[in-house]
Structure formats: C-alpha cells, structure tokens
Point group: C3
Chain length 343, copies 3
Amino acid sequence: MPPASLADIQAALGGTLHGDPHRRIERIAPLASAGPGDITFLSNPRLRHQLQGSQAGCVIVSPAVADLARQRGDTLETPDPYLYYARLSQWWAARMAPAPSPGVHPTAIVDPQAEVHPSVSIGPLCTIEAGAVLGSGCRLAARVHVGAGAVVGADGRLGVGVVIGSGCSVGDRAILHPGAVIGADGFGFAPAGGAWHKIEQLGSVRIGCDVEVGANTCIDRGALGDTVVGDGVKLDNLVQIGHNVQVGAHTAMAGCVGVAGSAVIGAHCTIGGGAVVLGHLELADGVHVSAATVITRSIREAGHYSGVYPFEDNAAWERNAATLRRLHELRGRVRDLEKNRTP
Amino acid sequence: MPPASLADIQAALGGTLHGDPHRRIERIAPLASAGPGDITFLSNPRLRHQLQGSQAGCVIVSPAVADLARQRGDTLETPDPYLYYARLSQWWAARMAPAPSPGVHPTAIVDPQAEVHPSVSIGPLCTIEAGAVLGSGCRLAARVHVGAGAVVGADGRLGVGVVIGSGCSVGDRAILHPGAVIGADGFGFAPAGGAWHKIEQLGSVRIGCDVEVGANTCIDRGALGDTVVGDGVKLDNLVQIGHNVQVGAHTAMAGCVGVAGSAVIGAHCTIGGGAVVLGHLELADGVHVSAATVITRSIREAGHYSGVYPFEDNAAWERNAATLRRLHELRGRVRDLEKNRTP
Amino acid sequence: MPPASLADIQAALGGTLHGDPHRRIERIAPLASAGPGDITFLSNPRLRHQLQGSQAGCVIVSPAVADLARQRGDTLETPDPYLYYARLSQWWAARMAPAPSPGVHPTAIVDPQAEVHPSVSIGPLCTIEAGAVLGSGCRLAARVHVGAGAVVGADGRLGVGVVIGSGCSVGDRAILHPGAVIGADGFGFAPAGGAWHKIEQLGSVRIGCDVEVGANTCIDRGALGDTVVGDGVKLDNLVQIGHNVQVGAHTAMAGCVGVAGSAVIGAHCTIGGGAVVLGHLELADGVHVSAATVITRSIREAGHYSGVYPFEDNAAWERNAATLRRLHELRGRVRDLEKNRTP
C-alpha cells in the first residue's frame, strides 16, 4: 500500500491543514511514540504537554490547541480530533484491506432457498440455510453459520465462526466478531419433581443497525417474545445477554458483562467490564455502571452507579472483611453508645 | 404449520379444558400481551389481577384461580401451569421444527471407525473421529466436532460448532449449545525455575443424562481423574467448569459462573449468574448462591448464601468504600469508646 | 499402549528409584486413590499421613519424606515431586497420543501463498490464508483458522476452531485451546452526536513462546500498537484481554479474568479466576491478585492483593449490606461520640 499524503487525508476526511500537503504518512501512531512518517492526534487536553516533544509528521488538533500545535509542525485542525481519528482509522483500514470480491467460496454450503444479494462475499465453509437473507455488501469470513430464515442487513461483516440462529435478524452495517453466538436458547426451565423441565425458547433475537458484537459474545433468543438489541449498540467480547433482554439504542457494554433475562436497559447507557445486571430490572436511559458492579434493582434515573469492593493488601482486606461480616452488630454497638452518652 | 386447536393441545398434554375445543391457537404468548389467537398461562398468583384484562384465547391455570379465570373465558386447568407451559413449549417446538431426517451430510467427515447409529442426523462439516459413538436419534448441527473415543448418548442435540474432546462422554438427551467446549485441558502447571511446566490433563469429562450446556460454555477435562457433571444439570452460557469439578444432579448455574478446579458442588443447587466458586471447596446439596457471589469456603448446610457489594450512586459508593478500607480501625474506635464509657 | 515399567520412567525422567524396576505402571493416579498398578506423587508435605495407607505401586517423593515413604513400598526420589509429576504427565500423554503424521487434510483450505513447514499437520476444514506462516512441527486440529500474514512458531498445538486473526503472531510451543480467538478487534469507539463511531483496530497481537491460551479465551488486537503477551504466559478459559494490554512473562490468569484495554501487567503475576483489571493500569512484577478481585488502580509493589465481598447466609448479608450503604454516616457517628467523650 503506498503511503498517503496529508492532502489525500484532507481530501477524504476534511479539516484544515496547516503544513505540507505532500508530506507522506505511513502510519497512524499515538502521540507519545509517533515519528516523522506518522500522523497522530491530540484529543485529551491534559496531554498537550506531549505536543512539544512529539516527532509526529502531523498532529490532528482542535482549535483550542491549534496555535500551540502549529509551533511544533504540521497540523490538521478539526473540531473533534478523536472523531477525526476514528474516521481516519476507518479510511486507513479500507485502504489496507479492500473488501473481498463478491462471490461464494466453492466450499461454502448455501441453501438454494437462501436469498443472497449478488454483491455478497461468502468465505469458505460457511453454512447458509434455507430462507436466510444476506443483504447487499455483506462479507462473511470463514465458517459463518446463518440459520434458517435468519436475516442479515446490508454491509454486515461477520467474523470467522459466527453463528446466527434460525429466525434471528441483524440490521445493516453489523460487525460480528469471531465466535459470537446469536440466538442460542435462553435459559428457561420449570422446576417440578426435583428436576428442571426445559422451556423451549420460541422467540428470536432482533438486532438493530450499526451494532457491533464482540468475540464469543452470546445473545440468547427469547422465550416467547424476542430479545431486542437497539441501533448503534456496541458489545465487547464474552458478553452474555439473556433471553428477552432489551438493550436501548447506542448503549455500550465492555467485556464479560452479564445481563440476565428480561432486563430492560435504556438507551445511551454504558456498562463497565464484568458488571452484572440481574433479571427483570429496568435501567433508565443514560445510566452508567462502573466495571464489576452488580445491579440488583432497577435504576430510574440517569447517573453513574458503582458497587465494587475496594481491593487492598491481602492482610488488610482480611481484617476489614472480617469486620464487615459483623457490621450490623457494630452499628448496634454505636447505637448503644449513643443512647448511653452523657447528656 | 397449521394452528393447533385446544383439543389438540389437551389431547397431547392433558389438563381439564373449559371452553371451545375447536378454538385455534396460533402462538404461546405472555399473559399481558396474549391475544385471541394465543394461549397463555398464569403461574404466579400475584399476577392474577392481569387475568381480567387479558385478551388470550385460553389461559392455563391452577385450580386455585380456576373459577376466577373461567369468568374471563377459556381455560386449561392443571395442577402446575408453569410445568404445563414447559411441556406445551416442547410440543410446540417439535411441531414447528420437526427433527431432521437421519443421515450424514456429504461434507461431514466421519471416521469409518466411529459408531454412528443409523437414526443419527449429522450436519455439514462435522468431524467425527475414530472410536466416537453417537447414540440413536442424535442431531448434530453444522461443524460439530466429536473427538476420538467420545461418546454421546441417545437423542443428543449438538449445536453449531460444539466441541467434544476425545474420550469425553455425554449422557442421553443432552442439549449442547453453539460453541460449547467439552474437554479442553484443565489449567494445571507446576511452577519451577520461574516458569510454569504443563501438567498434561489425562482425565476426561463425564456428563450425565438430561444435561444442557450453554453457548460458549467450557467444561475442562480432569488432570488425573475425570470432571463429572450429574444428571439433569443445566449450565447457561459462558460458564467455566474447571478440571476435576463435580457437579451434583439437577444443579443449575446461570450465565458467566466460574467454578474452579476440584470443587464439589452438591445436587439441587442453584448458582446465580456471574458467581465464582473457588477450587477444592465442597457445597452441600440444596445450596443456593446469589448472583455474583464469591464462594471462598465450603458450605456444609443447604441454604441461601450471598455476598454482593451493594451498588449506589457513584459518589455515595466512593464515600462508603473509602470508609470500608478503614473498617477494622473503626471497630477499634468503637471498642475504645465502649471501654471508656461512663459506667 | 503397553504399560510402562518404573525403569522406563526413570530412564526417561531421572530420579532415584528404590524398588522394583520391572514393576508395571498402568496409570498416574492421586495419592488417595492410587492402586498397585499406579504411580502417584507426594508434593504437599501436609499429605504425608496419606502415605502409609496408599496402595500405590510407586510414590514420587522428595528427600524429606523419602525414608517414611520407603517403609511403605517403591519410591522415586526427586527434589521436586510436583515438577516430576508434570514431566511424567507430558511423557505419558506423548505415549498415549503420538503426534499425528505431517500432512494437510484434503478438506483443509491452504492458500498457496501460505508458508507451511513440511512437518506440519493440518486437520480437516482448516483455513490458512495467504502469507500465513506455520512453523515446524505445528499440529492443527479441525477447522483452525490462521488469517492472512499470521505467524505461528514451531511446535504449536492449535485446538479445534481456534482463530488467529490476520497479522497476529504466536511464538514457539504455543498451546491454544478450542474456540480461542486471537486478534478480534479491540473495543474502541469515538462518541459523537449521541452515537459511537468505530475506531478501526490497526494493531495486532504478539504472543511469546510457551504460551497457553484457554478455550474460548479472547485476546484483542491493538488499536494502533500491538497487544503483547510475554513468554510463558498461561491463560485459562474464557479470559478477556483487551486491546493494547501487555502481559509480562510467566504471568498466569485463571478462568473468566477480564483485563481492560492498555493495562500493563508485570511478569510472574497471578490473577485469580473472575478478577477484573481496569484499563490503563500498571501492575508490578510479582503481583498476586485473589480471585474475583477488581483492580481499580495501579499496583507498584509485588504482593498479594484482595477485594472480595465475604459471603454469608443471605439474611446476614442483607443486614450487613444495608449497613454498608450507611457506613460513611456510621463513621461520622463514631466521630461525634469521640468528640463528646467525657475527658
């Protein structure tokens, strides 16, 4: 791939260039380590002290630091450097790895009753069942499975080994990473006679547009109704979404989050890594949950919520944890002291 | 699929029908949203207030609410409506998706030394190694792997991409969801000279009858002896079962649970989502562990155990968590106050 | 496989044999259950009371307990019995399951521009893309995917369904268990206009030598630079390693651990199962984190760190947890009592 010039970048993505349009850019790099062939960005104003020492060929900056940055060298000025970086990374990735040619690999197994748009690219060993629909521009890596009647919108990117269960649907521009499983059975059983009796999961999964699903993440199908994931939702790796969960638009969940069945999570929420949301709860729009926090009741108001045991040196933790187990008693002792206080 | 009549349902599943046997049922639906073509159930007596307003074509009810329910319309009366619903869902699912015809997909790779019952259905791209045994009625979806000498009992349903390692065994009527891995190596190393030396895992995994294993769940093989999962055990998605663990019959674990090596978990336990059970512990029969609780010592008595940090508004959490780190000291201060109390 | 004699074992692995060199060993077994055809080991001196009653054919022991053990029967004496057991398990496994013959299964899809050493064994349905390199002695199970330009060092063992993304590299003697995903995209988005804009992940994953990666574990590729996993690192199942994380040599992480992006973890650390390490933190060499602990700030000193809510009977937990939510207030009350104390 030939290096891009600053003029190429500006032509593709806009911004105001102060510097040499012919400068060749070979890489995008972090501010601290960027060299003369690299473009970088400054989005966090607290890092502005790194500007002066940076060897970067060009820095993407906001107007607030533009003057300072221009003293150092070439700049691309734009209102939101981080967003510009995101778009630059997309442009860069498309240059590095152009979309594969449309077509079906000869080892893929596509049911004649599947509807595959002619622009779709299907990798080796994929299995596309009857009634499945693949929208225009979809790119399936190796051994993707799309079950009977499942629908994938336009321009989906499905990683190696992705499984989309029968009857599930995924909107346009989906990115599903390797090993993601959409539409396994929800976890539902009726207890009777000391055993669990399976409740067949008759619903499906409906995923909106612009959704990204991480590697080995699981989204279960609904018991009766559907599990619903809104537009623009981003799920990291190894996330578990139980049956009949609803995830509002543009909500993001970091790795290893677990959301139990029938939870309703609002729009524009963020759930930190390893957090757990119990079943049948409701979280309002704009709720931000810290990593590893366990949400045990509904949250009606936007805000930032946490519940993490503070870690310590093991010996200190042991002392405090032992006391914690008698905390209620300790409160009683304080009460007694208060009652008996000399007036 | 033609709709079922209430008479069809009663003929298949029993119960006392009060209403029109010719009524056609097109769907099973929740009580709150069921319409005239739907059958629903009332299992939680606290929801009986929803009965009057329900548009459902028929409600499955217990004798306790039968009179009330019959004022509204058609009912199917049965001692345990939730169990009836479970069995109805099974009957319904079997009607919707009849079992595939027996046979081996031409792209499946079945070793001539595997023992495959003639009634088995093997999907595309499966790999069945020498000495593997597949019992009657097994249904393997696409790209299932059954390793050398592994045994799957009768009527197993193995989802896309399931891996059963060599020498492992799974009892009758198993349901394994996509991406489940049975029989990866347990995590065992001898530390020496600043490095970890692999302990090859020479045991296997033995799984009982009527076990369900969720998507991307892992059950490791034993180091010397076997990892053992009892009859009727239900594991949700993304669960980790370490080597040499024993899980008692009819125990259920929700998503993202981790059980470390050599733990022995009793029968009829429930482990909530995201909980962790440390290694070499024993849990008695009938132990119920709340979601996200960490079990750090053995539990000898049946009961309900919890250990979850209560979440709060982040600012409140910060204050309380900071105090928690000085809790032992605080107890000391209370002690001092008690000692110095005016007698 | 014919049984081994004690002389065979000593010839292969060393140690001082006291006993019958012709004794036939059929199994390695735990001390408590070993029978006359079994070899076992005693590494934990606290278990020495089990020696006398053991029926084992031979016990591997350290010099410290050698006299006691020889009173019972045959012994193999070695300075580190646990390490000896590890090496014995390796020798045993190699005897039980000899390496497959080199060669490419006819259903594997190997790009002509991949570099595959002639000693490599490639299982059915593998997909090896252009520019991929497989070092000498690699053994790939069924449906392993090695992306374009990815490199696997010598003697790698890649389990069923492993995915190595394009451009990623894995050192010599790697063991990757089924379903592991190396090189999925890191979780990076720029928020703008109420939506998340994808930051393409342009880095890769670089894994050192002698690394083991558990089933369904995920190691994401870096955003700009690479995610780096040092030599001798051992990761259990269902572990999540975020983008640009660095894991120092010989660090081990148990199942279900999550490490968020850009964390830098030292060498010779151990991270207990279900623990979470937040992003952009640094952990010194020799840090040991208890299971289920959440690391929320950097740790500069080697040591043992914990932060686990102690579990209790549910009723006791409810009382204490409720008090915990007023802990800061309780501290204030203690302060007031201290102020008002009669001098």
